[in-house]
Symmetry: C2
Subunit: 423 residues, 2 copies
């Protein structure tokens, strides 16, 4: 390993970055707007942080990748435009309202950037904007306008954790991290925050994630590294099969570490991408483990596939199966549902060469050999499956392709959370 | 309409067919085999019917279509072989064990056919076989061998309903139907039974379904009609996105109605296919409404799509979305999740021209106009969505393509049923 995870690291760990998060009341204002339309009483603003900012003391090389959903939040179009020149200096994000499918969404997203830029004294074109929450309800700009100065004043080196909290929706744990490595004899740090929970499916992003680094690296190489790292991590996570309208994974590089700037795919690029991938892998696990209502992290691990593409297809098919997910909730060592999900994945496999086992901290148990179900010790299987991290090991006899995909169990709480999300 | 549904019709309504269902104890024997491996006490046989037979007094033209899952029950390979000559005279089916992913599955499926053929005094090659239940556990042949004579003796014109009951697994209602039409001046009847519930997803079949008719029609035309009718009905149903290993939709035509045999795609073929499609549409609705744990039938109705293929893709994407399904359980008139599912469907759409409304027996409410969320009367929306049949109307501005897809809500009970199916 050419990198080290930093304990209590966050998006502010790299040189040059500060962050913060405040309670602006976006969700309460959204509800109030709806209530006003019906002449109902306005609900009080709750105290949850819902507005986050990340700021760098200097303009950064920047890149981002986005949801592939055709229906996109206007924040994405605004951010895309602002990143055309590969430069950004700040991020502003709200939770509580996705600013998607609204007639004035683009204007509001631009307004958020302008508010951030005014407070920070920078160019609005250097601001990345994102939103998360309910879709199709007007984004109230008032609470953001009222809170932006407080947000600016809250920026600090310790503020990464408040920013991580402010972007949470139904997330139950904050997701922040940092990792360090040596490039060109210099210590380089990469840090990030992320939110996930529901409406999460393979195909980039699947969350809001903001990454910072003090590495010197061009915007072009930053984007290449982002795509490469996301491909085997973010793009292998599924909570519920729904690709959101707002997924954004953005990265800013301050260059303050003082390494020779990475401008091509050299050895330093490889080291940087390796560290980024390791960090993203940890985030992918956290996003899946904290999937809405989840009680268990489920990792589909495929080996012996025809090629990497087949391995990925199979791993994703298994962790996306509602029946597999429900079986994992019930700690049921079902082999038929795994074989079934392999069979309909669309990948080419020799079904007579499939072995399946379940593995956790309590051991491993083989439930299928050569495509056939085995009789196995149900008590042992239960003991293994009652752990909160389960590997579903799928060994094929078709080649050298391997892949990992990250999912979670399907629980009563997923249904509860999503049966009445808006109220 | 050129056809009439027959009240209390079943698979025995067409001339020449009898059917029956008995309690053989397949599930109890399956569990007993597992228990014996662990030296545990054997559970008693429960009284649920689990072995069904359909028999025609003469050999029939026959056809079937099957699951597209690469992992198939051996019953499918045996039935495919037996239908190579386009002739069948009987069906034998068990529930309680899927006979899939077992080393001796093919042999056991052949043995089921031989047992049925011996009891009936017909050729084993003229028997269609199917199984449904747990995957990957050995099919016990003893209970079937012991019960086959009783099953033969139970065959009657009134026995269709017992056969329908015997193929149920987690189904809560029996699915049986018959429809009549006039062909060539003769009354022709088509009847059927079906089981569904879980592991149901678009891509043919999605269930076990057995259809009979007294129409005179060639095996080739029977298959063509089957594919045409299934394409807009069975292939548009999804309960949980999982395509099963055992899906079988088989049809037998006795020819006893005495119409001029249909051997080409003529006007009679069109009438026959129209009636078959209407019947299958009713079954599709029943399969979705009785999806595991479902409290509501959800129909995605798309109009104005670029073409029929796009309309189908969008309709299926919407009714397959876990988030839409959970919202329907909560009677939540969410518009964002519908737009989101349209957006990631893969179909080409102009998102600025999407209108979405919810409709039920209580009325219709528009929640999205031109791709933008609308403020709407939440109380009215709740009233509409609390009905047990909901249409999600998606009107596009891209062309003339229309489609309907059939799904259900995602509930606590789906999770409960599938969290511990095997025990």
């Amino acid at each position: 390993m050419n990198y080290t995870f930093i304990e209590n690291g966050s998006v502010t760990s790299p040189l040059g970055f500060v962050a913060g998060g405040v309670a602006a009341g976006v969700k309460a204002y959204t509800n109030a707007t709806q209530a006003a339309l019906k002449n109902e009483p306005v609900l009080p603003v709750n105290g949850k942080r819902d507005l986050a900012m990340i700021y760098c003391e200097k303009p950064c090389a920047a890149a981002a990748i986005f949801t592939r959903n055709l229906v996109k939040s206007d924040t994405i179009y605004v951010t895309q435009k602002h990143l055309e020149n590969g430069v950004a200096q700040a991020v502003i994000v709200n939770s509580g309202n996705a600013n998607a499918c609204n007639p004035d969404g683009y204007e509001k997203a631009e307004r958020m950037c302008a508010l951030a830029a005014d407070a920070l004294g920078i160019d609005a074109n250097d601001v990345i904007v994102a939103s998360t929450g309910v879709i199709g309800q007007a984004l109230p700009i008032e609470p953001i306008a009222k809170s932006v100065d407080a947000l600016k004043n809250a920026l600090s080196k310790e503020g990464g954790t408040n920013a991580a909290e402010a972007i949470m929706t139904t997330d139950t744990v904050k997701k922040e991290w940092a990792v360090s490595l040596t490039l060109d004899g210099k210590t380089v740090t990469i840090g990030g925050i992320a939110k996930g929970s529901g409406m999460i499916h393979i195909n980039m992003g699947t969350t809001l994630s903001f990454v910072t680094t003090d590495a010197a690296i061009s915007a072009e190489m930053l984007k290449a590294a982002l795509i490469e790292a996301a491909d085997v991590t973010y793009n292998m996570v599924s909570v519920d099969g729904d690709t959101s309208t707002n997924d954004t994974l953005a990265i800013m590089a301050s260059g303050l570490a003082g390494n020779a700037e990475i401008t091509e795919k050299n050895a330093d690029y490889a080291l940087f991408t390796e560290a980024l991938t390791a960090a993203f892998r940890q985030v992918a696990r956290k996003l899946a483990a904290d999937g809405e209502g989840a009680t268990r992290l489920i990792i589909g691990r495929v080996s012996g596939a025809k090629d990497e593409a087949a391995a990925k297809t199979i791993a994703k098919s298994v962790i996306c199966s509602s029946l597999v997910k429900a079986a994992m909730f019930g700690a049921d060592a079902n082999c038929g549902r795994i074989l079934c999900a392999v069979g309909y994945s669309g990948a080419e496999v020799d079904i007579k060469k499939i072995d399946v086992s379940y593995r956790s901290a309590k051991g491993e148990i083989l439930v299928c050999k050569d495509g056939m179900g085995l009789a196995f010790d149900e008590d042992k299987a239960k003991e293994i499956l009652l752990e909160n991290e389960i590997d579903i090991m799928i060994r094929l006899g078709d080649g050298d392709g391997t892949a990992e995909a990250y999912g979670c169990d399907l629980t009563y709480d997923y249904v509860k959370i999503n049966g009445d999300y808006r109220t």
